[in-house]
């Protein structure tokens, strides 16, 4: 491997080599800027809070501890958060993908009457909306406050994803549809049996976006949900990481305020690791879809 790479690089004239080296250094710095904090947080999460505060990172393993992980994982609110986030994200993804894929089909057919009308109606919403208060009052009037529906329904239809799916459908060869029509297949049969199976890359991409988007968001849950039992993970994280309010029971057994503050600080490191782990593990499996999906979206809508 190495000699081959070297010879590739050696082919470049001197001026180009300088440009390349500068380029690689910039790229290297960017990569380092990503890896370094992540490694720091992973290491810091295992270190005794007093040592961390006074000395920083240490490789004296006698100062290492699993306290932070025990306390975070031992807290029920974190688990409630995980459970709710999973429920909301899975249901939202299913609902959103179904509604969006369905709507994209008529929009992809040039003979669909009303195409222009629907297109205008949908595109307007991408740039103009009622804003926070009118939406909130609507949710309130529909008696959806503090219910799962306030989280699932308002964002379920994504115009942007519909455009992406529509563009993808339109790239599917026409003869597939003609073959289906000769066979006497109707709309539903064609859509479910012929079209969808060849659209898995775009379905996977949209599903991933919606899942990650819901998993990582906190705004809707913050304004619409009040009950602690309904809070998704991000809201629980918000009180620990941003508001400096660890869940009750995580630090309350500590004697002094100083100790409590130190422990609360350490808990942040462990909380970051624990909460990010699921997506970090999942995402490389989706990577092969990224380029396809993004490119489909890049084609002008």
């Amino acid at each position: 491997m190495k000699p081959k790479k070297k010879s590739e690089f050696a082919k470049y004239p001197a001026g180009d080599k300088t440009v390349l080296i500068i380029g690689y250094v910039i790229l290297g710095l960017f990569i380092a800027a990503i890896i370094f904090p992540v490694v720091y947080i992973i290491l810091a999460s295992f270190i005794d809070p007093i040592t961390l505060q006074n000395k920083g990172l240490t490789f004296d393993f006698s100062k290492w501890t699993l306290t932070a992980y025990e306390r975070v994982l031992g807290n029920s609110q974190i688990w409630i958060g995980f459970k709710n986030a999973l429920i909301y994200s899975v249901l939202f993804t299913i609902l959103s993908v179904v509604v969006t894929l369905l709507a994209a089909y008529p929009m992809s057919r040039t003979d669909f009457k009303g195409r222009g009308f629907f297109n205008t109606i949908y595109v307007i919403t991408m740039f103009f909306g009622g804003g926070l208060i009118p939406t909130y009052l609507l949710i309130s009037n529909l008696h959806m406050l503090d219910t799962i529906w306030a989280i699932l329904l308002p964002g379920a239809f994504s115009v942007w994803n519909m455009i992406i799916a529509r563009t993808y459908y339109m790239g599917i060869p026409r003869d597939l549809q003609e073959a289906a029509e000769i066979d006497g297949a109707n709309e539903m049969v064609y859509f479910f049996k012929i079209l969808l199976p060849v659209c898995t890359p775009i379905i996977a991409t949209i599903a991933m976006w919606q899942f990650v988007g819901m998993w990582n968001s906190y705004f809707d849950a913050m304004i619409y949900l009040n009950s602690a039992s309904k809070q998704p993970l991000q809201l629980v994280l918000r009180s620990i990481l941003v508001q400096n309010q660890p869940e009750p029971g995580m630090v309350s057994d500590m004697q002094s305020t100083a100790e409590r503050a130190q422990l609360a600080e350490l808990l942040k490191y462990a909380t970051i690791i624990i909460s990010s782990l699921p997506l970090m593990i999942m995402y490389p499996f989706f990577q092969k879809y990224f380029d396809n999906g993004i490119m489909a979206g890049a084609v002008k809508g």
Partner: protein
């Protein structure tokens, strides 16, 4: 608007068009009822009904009495906002955050794509991409949590510098923190679209350029830049169109009581005034003001680009 099923010789064109539409709808009812209805209903209920609610911007809205019993105050809410000393500060904060964010953040992924495109081994490139995309999957809250602990007086940055500065309480540090963390999180992911466009740049064209003795800079000018120019343009228009919708979630999560001087932006103000203080009419007016500026920006940007780009806009 070609209509193959309606012959042009038809005399009573109007009614036959309606008729043929009806026939079409009857034949293809599934397209309307099964495919289109769910999305249409969701849009009408959750997107268009709130637009009607904008009317409360012109009232002293009282949630108990409801819209019709609330006092109509005309443009008072707008006057109150526009004449308040805070107005300029919030507007400037919003604009600075998004304009500087665009200036720094927009070129970053393009640069990354050019750099990645020059990595010789595909395997290395894929591994680097895996790392570069990773921050995109971290949530806003966790990102802000990371920022807060790394920048805390005892955090990583301060222990590297040997200082004890509390960056989160410094108004002058907020924008840098916001923008830098945005690039850290988003630049890699945003580069995908350019990387894909670059890999579509014809390999043969590039080889020809190499044979002609073009150096890297010349190749970028002659081959690679033209390949991504359109993508860059579209992305730019979209970013400008979103300039007033700076993310609430991140700004709010990076706010502290002491950095509000720079960190209070229109969207966070709308939230606080409306949902925390219950000043519904006023908050809606401020939000509407924001949306309208955004739409004006988008329309004028699109017109400008159309002019520059031989009639091609979005």
């Amino acid at each position: 608007m070609k209509n193959a099923s309606a012959p042009p010789v038809e005399k009573s064109g109007g009614s036959s068009k309606i008729h043929s539409t009806l026939v079409y709808v009857r034949q293809h009812w599934q397209l309307y009822v099964i495919f289109m209805l769910p999305a249409f209903l969701l849009t009408v209920i959750f997107r268009y009904l709130p637009m009607g609610g904008i009317m409360i911007a012109f009232t002293e809205y009282n949630p108990i009495r409801g819209f019709f019993a609330s006092e109509w105050v005309g443009l008072d809410n707008f006057k109150r906002f526009l004449s308040s000393p805070d107005f300029m500060r919030y507007l400037v904060n919003t604009l600075k955050l998004s304009v500087f964010g665009l200036l720094w953040g927009f070129p970053a992924p393009i640069l990354l794509a050019f750099l990645l495109n020059r990595i010789l081994s595909t395997k290395t490139k894929q591994n680097l991409q895996l790392i570069l995309y990773m921050p995109n999957f971290i949530s806003v809250i966790v990102l802000c949590g990371i920022v807060r602990i790394l920048l805390s007086p005892t955090g990583m940055i301060n222990s590297l510098l040997g200082t004890g500065t509390n960056f989160m309480t410094m108004p002058e540090a907020f924008r840098t923190i916001y923008i830098a963390s945005g690039i850290w999180q988003g630049a890699g992911w945003a580069s995908i679209i350019y990387t894909a466009a670059l890999s579509n740049a014809s390999k043969e064209l590039k080889e020809a350029a190499v044979i002609d003795g073009a150096n890297i800079i010349q190749q970028i000018k002659a081959v690679e830049w033209p390949a991504i120019k359109d993508t860059v343009l579209i992305q730019f228009i979209m970013s400008v169109g979103n300039i007033m919708s700076v993310g609430f979630e991140k700004a709010y999560a990076l706010q502290t009581d002491l950095n509000l001087n720079t960190s209070e932006i229109i969207s966070t103000y709308v939230y606080k005034k409306g949902l925390l203080d219950g000043d519904y009419g006023f908050s809606t007016a401020v939000g509407l003001f924001n949306t309208v500026i955004n739409v004006i920006l988008l329309i004028s940007m699109n017109a400008l680009v159309k002019k520059m780009n031989e009639g091609k806009g979005i």
